[in-house]
């Protein structure tokens, strides 16, 4: 269905991932003494399982022409509320994990719906509005869990409250749910140095298939139509606002589930009640962009490749910084700079291209 791309076009389109691959390889070479390759591979497999679902949740709004969904943070908050509810009930195990996801869905629908309404009012400014909305929602979230939880919203489980009974504790131990999915069907390679969480990846594969399927339904086609040209869609009798709302709802729900997977992945297991959600948006967005996605075009492969590269850089940058400059922080600031730069450059390119029509 697409024209055969030329070699130069292919290079141009994949410039960002190629550049990142080069950076990652340079980083791996620089840090070769600090980390064994199979340890690195194991780490990255774990991180891929942890983050990929969240990154995939960004695709639908891009297809609908709403750009990168900085409001995904709101889905992440809903996911955390799901976990808080499960912890409050004192449940544990795989069932508790599933329950947390189930609880998060209605919340995501409500708050995703509010997000969608706001973004429909801010057409053409969806990204900045989503970003500020995320900051704003963070304030509301803190108000609810820091001030109202305890006195106004009674909790069953006193252990997750602060000492004096008002406000949730700053960290909540997710021992009951953490690692449960990863450990369900685990395959070991290289004598256990690489642990492949099959169940988690099956869930991610299911999402990928689901997304592919959805984009080829009538509803998905409407999404693509709106994404290309709202005016033409409207003239063709498509309810543009409804379709955009649908895109945000899907993204928010997936974001909530993705956040739960992130927090309960092997090696995580602790929720920073008031900050775990904050960095979710920028990092997931940087990841999908590193894979070659743009403001108007994102696919499953962009998400997979991007998450892989981004996390590789994330792991090796501090080690490389230590090896080359003798300072871990240089690597840390560098990866942060890179995350901001990749988003900034993508946004700038998008604006530049759309201006030239």
């Amino acid at each position: 269905m697409r024209r055969a791309p030329s070699a130069r076009g292919l290079l141009g389109q994949n410039l960002v991932p190629l550049l990142f691959a080069a950076l990652c390889i340079a980083g791996i070479v620089a840090a070769r003494d600090a980390i064994a390759l199979e340890i690195l591979a194991g780490d990255i497999v774990t991180r891929l399982g942890r983050n990929l679902f969240l990154v995939l949740s960004l695709i639908v709004p891009v297809v609908a022409g709403m750009g990168l969904n900085f409001g995904i943070v709101i889905g992440a908050m809903c996911g955390q509320v799901g976990l808080i509810l499960v912890e409050n009930a004192g449940w544990s195990g795989l069932g508790a994990l599933g329950a947390a996801m189930l609880f998060s869905i209605p919340l995501s629908l409500v708050f995703g719906g509010l997000t969608g309404r706001l973004l429909n009012r801010a057409k053409g400014k969806e990204m900045i509005t989503g970003m500020i909305l995320a900051f704003f929602a963070n304030g509301v979230y803190q108000m609810i869990f820091l001030l109202l939880t305890g006195p106004v919203i009674p909790l069953h489980n006193q252990k997750i409250l602060l000492d004096d009974g008002i406000g949730l504790a700053n960290t909540i131990d997710l021992a009951g749910t953490a690692g449960k999915l990863d450990h369900l069907l685990r395959i070991s390679f290289l004598g256990g140095r690489i642990q492949f969480p099959l169940a988690t990846f099956l869930l991610i594969a299911l999402l990928c298939l689901g997304l592919r399927w959805y984009l080829r339904t009538r509803s998905g086609q409407q999404l693509r139509t709106v994404g290309q040209d709202m005016h033409v869609a409207e003239i063709s009798g498509i309810g543009v606002d409804r379709v955009r709302m649908r895109a945000i709802l899907i993204s928010t729900v997936l974001g909530g589930i993705g956040q739960i997977l992130w927090l309960t992945s092997t090696g995580m297991g602790t929720m920073n009640t008031y900050s775990s959600h904050e960095q979710v948006g920028p990092y997931a967005i940087a990841a999908i962009l590193v894979g070659g996605a743009t403001v108007t075009h994102a696919t499953i492969w962009h998400a997979i490749l991007g998450t892989l590269l981004f996390h590789t850089l994330f792991v090796v940058a501090p080690l490389a910084g230590q090896a080359v400059f003798g300072a871990v922080q240089i690597g840390e600031y560098f990866r942060e700079f890179v995350a901001y730069a990749v988003i900034g450059v993508t946004l700038a390119l998008h604006a530049w291209k759309s201006r030239r029509g």
Binding site: W213, R216, T217, R218, S219, Q222, V232, I235
Partner: protein
């Protein structure tokens, strides 16, 4: 063959008390090509907006009269409503998605689909989740393309198709609709090359032969004569006449389009003893103003005259002034009073004693949220360094001099306002226009371009605006190039009237020339006497460029 596909009876419509359609009757038979012609503002767009149930109609109080489609009375409330009754539109600008394939575009929002597990489980709510039936999409698109004789690969992306093919994809989409009964072609040949246009006309005939009714809106009278079975001419919101093809000539249609009583010219005399000379000399001026391209204008404007520039919308008459002022990219030779004017350097032009009142009063002509005095004096301060204390970029504005000047202008121009500090946004259209003129006159130009000075201005203020132009022309000897869509007002005040069509000046007429001569020039330069047998050669190259861009604004009458 003769049962009507569309019958309009007594269609009346007004926008905010301003009547734009005053009882239009129209009948289009199945299998007939019916041409609808008229000047801008004659009411064609409003009529089509009503037929399509566009929101702009219902937001402004609906319309009067009845519409019948295939014998059933219909009140189209939305575009999809109209579509459901078998009305299709081939737009002047393409309603295509470049990222989609031809087939996807033909089937846009009407994709065939088949149920799957998810959609079955959800029952009546699951229709949106049905899988696309790509095979049927391909087959049905193929059939629609075949029906209009296009051998285009249905899986090709639309991006990169030649303009002419895009038009055919649009037609295929309309034809593919099961109940397609009436197709409206809105200026379809505007963006096509000549051979593409011929192909299109042939396709229109073929479609009519299949029993589809076609309503053909155009200003190209040669095309009308080539394909239309019947012709309806609209003028000032009413039917000016109906002609069968057998009786139609270009002259007859042109006269029907223009036909107005010559307005009374009651102008003050010019002072004696002016030396004539050329105030403005244009040679091969080409201006890339989207939607108003100028494609090579040669023109001499005499010192001290008022030259009217007339023409239909989109033909390039507005581009001339914008190009000379350097607001859009232009090439060619421009001389004022014998010395060349730099192109693209607005500041340089303004410094040469040239001033401009833009056709787009709100977007270009004014700083809406600034005060009247800032609007009047700002340009003079920037260009001529007047109303300043001191000199250089950091010279302070002389607020008291500006105030005094603004007060004088308010009185002289009779600007109805609360005072010089009132924001311009709050003024009526007529008073806003007077502020624009006041700003231009403040520059004390020797050559003044004024475009569409009476657009959106109420009747009383209209006369005052024209009177001011005549006054400055007579008293100060200012040369004026007056561009307007209203031929009547040009005939009222101009010394000569140049008619622009297809981006060129088709002829210059005295204001009292007969209607038919104006009509012929308006319709694309089939100049008087030559009859309606040929499109002039230069319009071929004009068509090659593909110009109709950026006109999404419905409601020409508003």
């Amino acid at each position: 063959m003769s049962n009507p596909a569309l019958v309009l009876r007594g269609i009346r419509k007004s926008y905010y008390g301003n009547v734009v359609l005053q009882g239009v009757d129209l009948e289009v038979r199945a299998g007939e090509i019916h041409a609808l012609v008229g000047e801008n503002g004659a009411g064609k767009s409003t009529l089509m907006n009503i037929l399509f149930g566009m929101p702009v109609i219902h937001e402004t109080g609906g319309f009067e009269g009845t519409i019948e489609l295939g014998g059933t009375p219909v009140v189209p409330a939305t575009p999809s409503d109209a579509m459901a009754h078998g009305v299709g539109m081939v737009h002047q600008e393409f309603m295509l998605l470049p990222g989609f394939t031809v087939a996807e575009n033909i089937k846009l929002a009407r994709e065939p689909s088949k149920p799957n597990v998810a959609s079955r489980v959800l029952g009546p709510w699951g229709r949106g989740l049905e899988s696309l039936d790509l095979k049927r999409m391909k087959q049905e698109s193929r059939a629609a393309l075949d029906r209009i004789g296009m051998s285009l690969d249905e899986w090709r992306p639309v991006a990169g198709l030649p303009v002419g093919h895009m038009q055919f994809v649009e037609i295929a989409r309309e034809v593919d609709k099961e109940n397609a009964r009436l197709l409206v072609f809105d200026e379809p040949t505007a963006v096509l090359t000549e051979s593409e246009a011929e192909e299109l006309l042939a396709t229109m005939k073929a479609l009519a032969g299949q029993g589809i009714a076609i309503l053909f809106i155009t200003h190209r009278l040669d095309e009308v004569l080539a394909v239309a079975d019947r012709i309806t001419v609209l003028r000032d919101g009413a039917v000016a006449g109906r002609v069968d093809r057998a009786d139609a000539t270009v002259e007859k249609i042109a006269e029907l389009m223009i036909g107005r009583a010559l307005p009374e010219r009651n102008l003050p005399p010019r002072p004696e003893g002016r030396t004539p000379g050329v105030a403005l000399h244009l040679q091969n001026l080409v201006v890339e103003m989207p939607g108003e391209e100028v494609r090579g204008v040669d023109l001499d404007v005499q010192e001290g005259e008022i030259l009217g520039v007339a023409g239909l919308a989109g033909q390039g008459k507005l581009g001339i002034a914008n190009g000379v002022l350097g607001l859009f990219p232009a090439t060619g030779t421009v001389e004022t009073s014998g010395s060349p004017l730099p192109l693209g350097d607005t500041l340089g032009v303004l410094k040469r004693s040239v001033a401009f009142v833009s056709e787009d009063r709100r977007q270009v002509g004014l700083l809406l949220d600034e005060s009247i005095e800032t609007n009047i004096a700002g340009t003079a301060a920037h260009v001529q360094g007047r109303f300043l204390k001191g000199s250089g970029p950091f010279a302070l504005l002389d607020k008291s001099a500006i105030r005094a000047h603004a007060e004088r202008m308010i009185e002289e121009f009779d600007i109805r306002c609360q005072g010089p500090t009132q924001a311009v946004r709050r003024l009526s259209g007529g008073n806003q226009q007077k502020v624009c003129l006041a700003r231009a006159f403040t520059l004390e130009p020797s050559l003044l371009f004024v475009s569409e000075p009476t657009r959106g201005v109420d009747v009383g203020a209209k006369d005052r605006v024209l009177q001011l132009l005549v006054q400055v022309n007579r008293e100060r000897g200012t040369t004026i190039v007056l561009t307007s869509s209203e031929l009547a007002e040009l005939r009222q005040v101009s010394d000569r009237i140049a008619v622009v069509s297809e981006g060129r000046i088709q002829g210059i007429l005295p204001p009292d020339a007969p209607d038919v001569e104006f009509g012929l020039l308006f319709a694309g330069g089939t100049a008087a006497g030559r009859g309606g047998d040929a499109v002039p050669q230069d319009s071929v190259s004009a068509r090659l460029d593909g110009d109709a861009v950026g006109r999404r604004d419905p409601g020409e009458g508003s």
